[in-house]
């Protein structure tokens, strides 16, 4: 069975909510929709305080090439425009909407009917995806239409669909593959048309045998799409690792997947593409896994963007008494939240509630030069060396040792028997090296 070669780890999977069907979270009284939710330039706000909006109405416009539209996820009245803390801990401008009813924009097809026939041209597909504010839902939130615009001189050959969900605990993609499979497959066909490729591969780790079986049966009806079962190994969901696992190609340092003829999209993104193109439906809701060992009811919830995370936790049985940490995302790459009032955004794939006793890091002792961090690094880096260079502020050397190749997967810190906070140092170093490179450009 296929997998990527270099490095990798096996954290406990803990997929507690794998069996929980997707439930619709009731509408909250208020939503807080950050104006910028994706990678790239901030979007421009186009509603004012007091405006009455419908579900799916555009409220912020992505004007730069790499930026994305943002739509209202509810109907109601804009009560405030204010700064809120987002899931990354930054303060961002957000539109606060008091929810009244649930009236959708007339353009949107809200019916349950599955529309299989793809009538749009390539250009229309790209335009629709951009208009509907679709971004990568795997976590990186890269605007999806940009990925469809293959740069001059490059050619896309394969579309890879990421159904790996290698983060422990998270199950939203798994549920989507089981419950929304046809729509997702049509979404994949749309992406194939948009990219003008003949082959698409859905990579799924073999710890989801039901999803593999289910999709393998269905793909016969969708020419060009193939399911690729993969050995379980973290971080297989990393773009470069997935490409390596499925095609055997390695994206060179500092380059994008298109360099080796590949474009990668997440299964959730494929579904959002289906809804955008076939149903005219903007990205206003997504599936979020709410999970944790002490949580009463680990769940997969269909949630409107802008819903405070506290509402999701309430629905899943309330915050357990022994809670120590709440993580936006999975335990390997997720960010610890400072408050439960932050809103769900397009990039929120899960909320993990960790008990107090698992929330603290282990004590840090001397590095024993065991090289375990090196052997698990999926990018073939030397985390121990890079951390040292960052600590000693030797950023130029760190750049030469390819610190920017680090995908921040956390495998090194996860493995280090001395408990060294390698990734903390690496983030600092990457940041500094980035600044140095930008300054160089200015001179």
């Amino acid at each position: 069975m296929k997998t990527f070669k270099l490095g990798g780890v096996h954290p406990e999977e803990n997929k507690l909510s794998a069996g929980a069907a997707i439930e619709i979270l009731p509408l909250p009284e208020k939503v807080f929709i950050p104006v910028s939710q994706s990678l790239g330039a901030p979007s421009k706000l186009i509603v004012e305080k007091g405006a009455v909006v419908k579900t799916g109405q555009l409220i912020a416009k992505g004007e730069a090439f790499i930026s994305a539209n943002v739509h209202s996820s509810v109907s109601g009245k804009v009560s405030r425009i204010e700064e809120v803390t987002d899931t990354s801990g930054y303060r961002r401008t957000a539109v606060v909407i008091d929810v009244e009813g649930d009236e959708w924009d007339e353009q949107i097809d809200c019916s349950k009917e599955v529309k299989a026939e793809i009538t749009h041209s390539r250009e229309e597909i790209v335009r629709k995806i951009s208009e509907m504010g679709v971004v990568g839902l795997g976590g990186a939130t890269f605007p999806s239409h940009v990925k469809l615009m293959v740069p001059e001189g490059k050619k896309a050959e394969n579309l890879l669909i990421n159904g790996v969900e290698c983060e422990p605990y998270l199950t939203s993609d798994h549920r989507l593959m089981l419950e929304r499979s046809r729509e997702m497959l049509i979404g994949i066909q749309i992406l194939m048309k948009g990219l003008d490729v003949k082959k698409a591969y859905i990579g799924i780790e073999k710890n989801k045998p039901d999803a593999i079986d289910h999709l393998e049966k269905l793909v016969a009806e969708y020419p060009g799409i193939e399911v690729v079962p993969l050995k379980v190994k973290y971080p297989q969901g990393g773009e470069k690792q997935l490409i390596k696992a499925i095609t055997g190609r390695e994206v060179p340092s500092g380059k994008l997947p298109i360099e080796v003829g590949c474009v990668v999209n997440n299964v959730g993104t494929a579904l959002a593409v289906y809804e955008a193109v076939q149903k005219n439906k903007p990205l206003v809701e997504r599936v979020v896994t709410v999970t944790g060992k002490s949580l009463e009811k680990p769940s997969n919830l269909l949630v409107r963007i802008g819903t405070p995370v506290s509402k999701l936790i309430e629905f899943a049985g309330g915050l357990p008494a022994d809670t120590g940490k709440v993580i936006n995302g999975g335990p390997m790459m997720g960010k610890a939240l400072t408050s439960l009032e932050v809103p769900v955004v397009k990039g929120t794939s899960g909320l993990l509630i960790m008990p107090e006793k698992e929330s603290r890091r282990m004590p840090v002792v001397n590095c024993i030069r065991c090289a375990r961090c090196i052997s698990v690094c999926p990018m073939g880096l030397e985390p121990v060396l890079l951390a040292q260079l960052s600590e000693n502020q030797m950023f130029e050397t760190a750049e030469k040792e390819r610190i920017l190749d680090c995908i921040e997967c956390g495998s090194c810190h996860f493995t280090c028997p001395a408990g060294r906070p390698l990734l903390d140092y690496l983030r600092l170093g990457k940041n500094k090296v980035g600044i140095i490179i930008r300054n160089r450009g200015k001179k």
Partner: protein, 337 residues
């Protein structure tokens, strides 16, 4: 819940920590400890006890009064050094010499560099070499165990090791075949199970291999250094043997005799003092293998493992600079379409 804990990712951790690794090594040495006590009797237990106690004591007192850092004696590393040092000396070594060896191992080779993880050389080997150079007579007169199934040391008889017999004999003009056929020569089988003269821990290849297998299984060591070490030593000694079997020992005997197995699996693999990238580890292993045979055949001492590993320890920083891990995306030509 009042305040949420906030820290950077990752939020989960693997199962290994420094302690579990160090105690894993100790567990791996248990079979060899039993074998040494079986063949050398309580003397062996005495040496191990004194060595371990002295190592722990020096680590504790230096950490507490000189370095003034957090206590580290229960991380298991001083225990490992203690047992390894005992494994590297004869069972009749006087107690004070063992203590002196422990002081050099822990005090000079480890703590003066800043403690665990900072030492460039394997502490137990530094201790052994210090003893060997300072007390060559005591360090090379080995109690000889009786044959297998007759435990205990042949009363008050000391004699040379397998390699010692061969080295002396060869330089006196005898052939290897004559020497191996002579009375009192341990032979392959006794070398394998441990009925030979030698340091405490090196006599039984089987017990050591058992422990090594355990360390592989627990993922405490990887195959790179041992495979490269044994491979290069085997090939090099094999070539010499093919050239002239009368004056060169055969490669299998080289593997079984002396400190080869102990050195390869328990000391060359010491993570602190060996290279970090797999490529670097292979280079390290090959170098140590060649040096070991070189010293055994042409050096002044019959045994070369300790010196070979220490010399390669000295090269480790250089190897780390020269042999980087294979970076993702490097060396693989991008195949297109």
């Amino acid at each position: 819940m009042s305040i949420l804990t906030v820290s950077g990712s990752p939020h989960v951790h693997g199962h290994q920590n420094v302690k579990s690794i160090m105690y894993g090594v100790v567990v791996a040495m248990i079979p060899a400890i039993f074998v040494s006590v079986y063949f050398f009797g309580l003397d062996a237990a005495r040496v191990i006890f004194i060595s371990v106690a002295a190592c722990l004591f020096f680590e504790w007192i230096i950490q507490k009064y000189l370095l003034k850092g957090p206590l580290t004696i229960n991380d298991g590393s001083a225990l490992v050094t203690g047992v390894l040092l005992a494994f590297n000396v004869p069972s009749n070594l006087p107690a004070w010499m063992i203590v002196a060896g422990a002081l050099v191992s822990i005090g000079i080779a480890k703590m003066s560099f800043g403690g665990l993880g900072k030492n460039p050389f394997n502490p137990a080997l530094i201790g052994r070499v210090f003893l060997l150079i300072s007390f060559p007579v005591q360090m090379t007169s080995w109690p000889v165990p009786k044959a297998l199934f007759a435990p205990g040391v042949t009363d008050a008889i000391t004699g040379p090791t397998t390699l010692g017999i061969l080295k002396e004999g060869i330089s006196a003009g005898k052939t290897v075949q004559e020497l191996m056929g002579s009375a009192g020569f341990p032979g392959y089988m006794n070398d394998l199970v441990g009925a030979q003269g030698g340091s405490l821990g090196e006599i039984s290849a089987i017990a050591l291999l058992l422990g090594a297998a355990y360390m592989f299984f627990r993922r405490i060591i990887t195959w790179h250094i041992p495979a490269a070490y044994i491979g290069s030593a085997f090939v090099f000694s094999g070539i010499l043997w093919l050239v002239n079997p009368a004056i060169y020992i055969d490669p299998v005997m080289h593997m079984l005799a002396g400190g080869m197995i102990l050195g390869v699996f328990y000391m060359a693999t010491d993570m602190v003092s060996s290279p970090m990238s797999p490529r670097g580890q292979l280079v390290f292993g090959v170098g140590a293998g060649l040096l070991t045979i070189l010293i055994r055949v042409w050096g002044a001492y019959p045994e070369g493992v300790s010196f070979a590993i220490l010399i390669m320890n000295a090269f480790t920083p250089l190897i780390n600079k020269a042999f980087k891990p294979r970076r993702f995306g490097e060396a693989l030509p991008v195949k297109k379409g």
